[in-house]
Amino acid sequence: MSESERFEPLIIGFTCNWCSYRAADLAGTSRMKYPPNVRLIRLMCSGRLDPTFVLKALANGADGVLITGCHPGECHYLEQNYKAMRRYYLLRAMLTQMGIEPERVRLVWASAAEGARFAEEVTRMVEDVRRLGPLNWPAIAADGAEPAASRNGHGPAAAAETAPVVPEEAKP
């Protein structure tokens, strides 16, 4: 695939109001560059991240979801980022069962001082998801197949002709 027609993933990023959103702000004020594939949503805390937000984003066409929050021990709400972390690992297990590569959803800690880290992590995530290829969840659903999520262990790969590339090693 040539440079001009390479796959450009869309990634939804969730930030917390106190650390990672400010890290994104700092990346901006420091004029750091990262690819424009990530679109951010501000929550008050990573603990607010309802796993359905992630599924909703994937179902609506995002190829990946980046979840960010304060470093462990630095949560503005004391310990809620740990709760985000717990959910994140459960969610990854669930995504695997749904046939979605768990690498499409990533949890990253970034303090308000870590603009550079934020930019680096976004860049890395975009590259990794680009390598995985499009998720194409909505395309499958729009083709009239039954919802991928209910297929219990069968990934979207089997659902339609427009099957996304699911690397063998990513299958559960």
């Binding site: 424009p36 805390c45 630095e74 503005h76 709400y77 004391l78 809620q80 209910s150």
Partner: protein, 688 residues
């Protein structure tokens, strides 16, 4: 719970305002195209007007929005400009001026998140459009909100009676408001009371501290609770309910005159590990030091003959007051106080030098910690201010002072303890002055910022103190060369001449690191604040808000926030007080209405959310079988909202609907800005 907003609320009239920010945004993003696109393509979603303007935050820009709200009847506003952390308040206020509820305004960051981080004009413009679409979809689901107004109780709790707490308490009390000062030890004064001189002016610490201590003890607005500890904190800013344990002193404060006869008659001598740093003695009934405030003593039951063997009572027998002030039956007392704000000034602890065994502390008699040396050269200390070796008579002829013991060392603490350089210079000066000994300072870097500090360094240099740059490898009594017998040898690489040196000395002083209190984490948890990785209390903003914390109503001052010298500690104590006084003056506080609430009809009473709240805002109503959230305690993190399996908890400003709508909006356009078609809602059943 639905995973998709039911329908776009096209009945809303939304205005979109795209800021050029000079060339900051317009230089990368085609703002005119963005505004036109929004007006055209988002019309179905309720956008009735979309404008671009040079500087939206200027008066003219704000007036543009205000005029549109009035003339076009806008019901929602989206401003695409800088970060909301910069100008959210500006645009909310503008909306409010025009009669629109301020929470119906949403900001989209196309500067920090687009123009400043991306370079490709087309892609940046596409992303700006997508972000605005997200904002438009989201704002339709916003609700008008009112800030939460909480009244402020005028009483303030100050925890810690060191110089930071003393300063804070006096500032507030002098402004006419009541203060409750809680101190763990029997007397206030903290570490500063133990010092002899203070750098760089060499004022006597007691001379400048004791008048302040007396002022605290006699101030009509200050309730002093020494030998007391906070057990529990309930409530929230404006109305905390604090439970305090007043430990039994066995001395009746009402009748005791502080004459000291009991102390004189007590037959038990105990090594004073706290105030005299293990160098001196005190009695079993004692006060920390002669100028202690309050003046009445306390009985140390662990060493008191009566408490240990049931006999003696010398103190009670000789007590001259009527009735006797010694009361062996006294019990710990639990009291509860209501306060509006809390200042934590719990100070620091000294690094335990035994943790660096190669420096010989605890093994070599004449290796002292900095605090021990403070007591040694204190005129009221165990040697009456004579700088002598442990034998009590010999004056040292050579003294080595080691800087950065436990600081700037990745094995112990990576931070700089701030005070050690100046403190070591002070020690060097005092040793020279009192004994005429040769003094060697072993340092890594000399750090002497702030007023008159470097001048003091120059003065000590001129006094003939030797400075060796290098981290000391070892302090030993194993003589290797002639002249080292009977001495302590400091082995160091002098990095300025690039050679190993062995310097024999009679006495070594270790400038130990300042460390967070051992129970800092526990205290932080009790008050609902956080500690940094190093264990210091975290301030709200390291530069712009150094005395506030992320928890409303809890302020911090002094070394509890990080190592600092006395002037900085006093400044912080006063600063925290100023913040509190401002609050009390206002009488009330407006809080962001970001709160969670339970829809009782949907709550199944499963209690999954009950253990998730670190602020104890969630409680279960046994009588109703449902969970309740106290809006005054709720901080709005939303963890419970995300956890509720029934979708029975909703959060203002961050509802599921708002986030789902924003996701749909953000994904309306693909990477290059082409429409991606309608949001897919057919997956809903699978997700809910």
């Amino acid at each position: 719970m639905s995973t998709a907003p039911s329908s776009p609320k096209s009945q809303e009239r939304i205005g979109v305002y795209v800021c050029h920010c000079g060339s900051n945004i317009a230089g990368v993003v085609d703002v005119k195209d963005v505004a036109q696109w929004a007006g055209r393509e988002l019309a179905e979603d309720g956008v009735v007007i979309a404008r671009d303007y040079q500087f939206m935050c200027s008066n003219l820009g704000q007036e543009l929005i205000e005029a549109d709200i009035k003339e076009q009847g806008l019901t929602r506003v989206v401003v695409a400009a800088c970060s909301p952390h910069l100008h959210e308040a500006t645009f909310r206020t503008a909306c409010q001026r025009a009669g629109l509820n301020p929470y119906l305004c949403e900001m989209v960051s196309i500067r920090e998140q687009v123009s400043w981080v991306h370079t490709d004009r087309d892609l940046a413009t596409a992303k700006a459009k997508a972000l605005i679409a997200g904002g438009v979809e989201r704002v339709a689901w916003h609700e008008p909100l009112e800030p939460l107004i909480v009244p402020i109780n005028p009483t303030t709790l100050v925890v810690g009676g060191g110089i930071a707490g003393i300063q804070a308490a006096l500032e507030i009390a002098d402004s006419g408001y009541p203060v409750i000062l809680v101190e763990r030890e029997p007397s206030i004064g903290g570490h500063m009371a133990q010092f002899d001189k203070t750098f760089p002016t060499l004022d006597c610490a007691a001379c400048i501290l004791t008048p302040k201590m007396v002022a605290v003890g006699s101030h009509p607005n200050i309730t002093l609770l020494t030998y007391s500890e906070v057990e529990r904190v309930d409530g929230y800013v404006g109305s905390f309910l604090v439970t305090i344990r007043k430990k039994a002193r066995y001395v009746n404060a009402e009748t005791c005159t502080g004459c000291g006869l009991c102390i004189e008659k007590c037959p038990v001598r105990v090594v004073d590990e706290v105030f005299e740093a293990g160098l001196g003695y005190r009695k079993a009934v004692y006060r920390s030091f002669p100028q202690a405030v309050p003046k009445y003593p306390v009985i140390d039951t662990e060493h008191c003959t009566y408490f240990q063997r049931g006999k003696c009572k010398a103190c009670q027998i000789f007590c001259p007051t009527q009735p006797k002030s010694i009361n062996f039956e006294q019990k710990d007392e639990i009291i509860q106080v209501e306060v509006g704000n809390i200042i934590l000034a719990t100070g620091y602890e000294l690094f335990d030098c035994r943790r660096i065994p190669q420096y010989g502390y605890g093994r070599l008699a004449n290796v002292y910690t900095s605090l021990e040396f403070e007591r040694l050269c204190n005129a009221a200390g165990p040697t009456g201010g004579e700088v002598v070796l442990r034998d009590g008579v010999t004056k040292p002829k050579t003294v080595g002072i080691i800087h950065c013991v436990g600081s700037r060392d990745s094995k112990y603490n990576s931070y700089c303890s701030v005070i050690c350089c100046m403190q070591s210079l002070k020690f060097a000066h005092l040793v020279k002055e009192r004994t005429g000994a040769e003094v060697y300072n072993f340092y890594i870097d000399m750090r002497t910022p702030f007023k008159d500090y470097d001048e003091f360094y120059q003065k000590v240099l001129a006094e003939g103190v030797h400075f060796v740059r290098g981290r000391v490898a070892e302090v030993t009594d194993a003589a290797r060369h002639p002249g080292e017998e009977g001495k302590i040898i400091v082995q160091v690489e002098d990095t300025l001449i690039g050679r190993q040196r062995r310097i024999p000395v009679d006495m070594v002083i270790l400038s130990a690191a300042l460390e967070p209190r051992r129970d800092a984490q526990e205290v932080a948890h009790k008050f609902g604040i956080a500690c940094s990785a190093n264990g210091w209390f975290i301030e709200k903003h390291p530069k712009l808000d150094p005395v506030a914390t992320m928890t409303e109503g809890i302020f911090i001052a002094g070394c509890a926030q990080g190592p600092k010298d006395i002037p900085a500690t006093v400044a912080q104590g006063a600063a925290a007080a100023a913040r509190v006084i401002g609050r009390i003056h206002q009488g009330h506080l407006a809080l962001e209405p970001v709160r969670a609430s339970v829809i009782a009809e949907r709550c199944s009473g499963c209690r999954i959310c009950n253990n998730l709240c670190p602020f104890n805002a969630i409680s279960f109503r046994e009588d109703l079988g449902v969970t309740e959230i106290n809006p005054a305690l709720c901080q709005g993190c939303g963890t419970c909202v995300a956890a509720c399996p029934a979708g029975a908890i909703t959060g203002t400003q961050f509802s599921n609907e708002q986030v789902f709508a924003q996701i749909e909006g953000l994904l309306m356009l693909d990477f290059s800005g082409a429409p991606r078609g309608a949001a897919v809602r057919m997956l809903e059943p699978a997700l809910s």
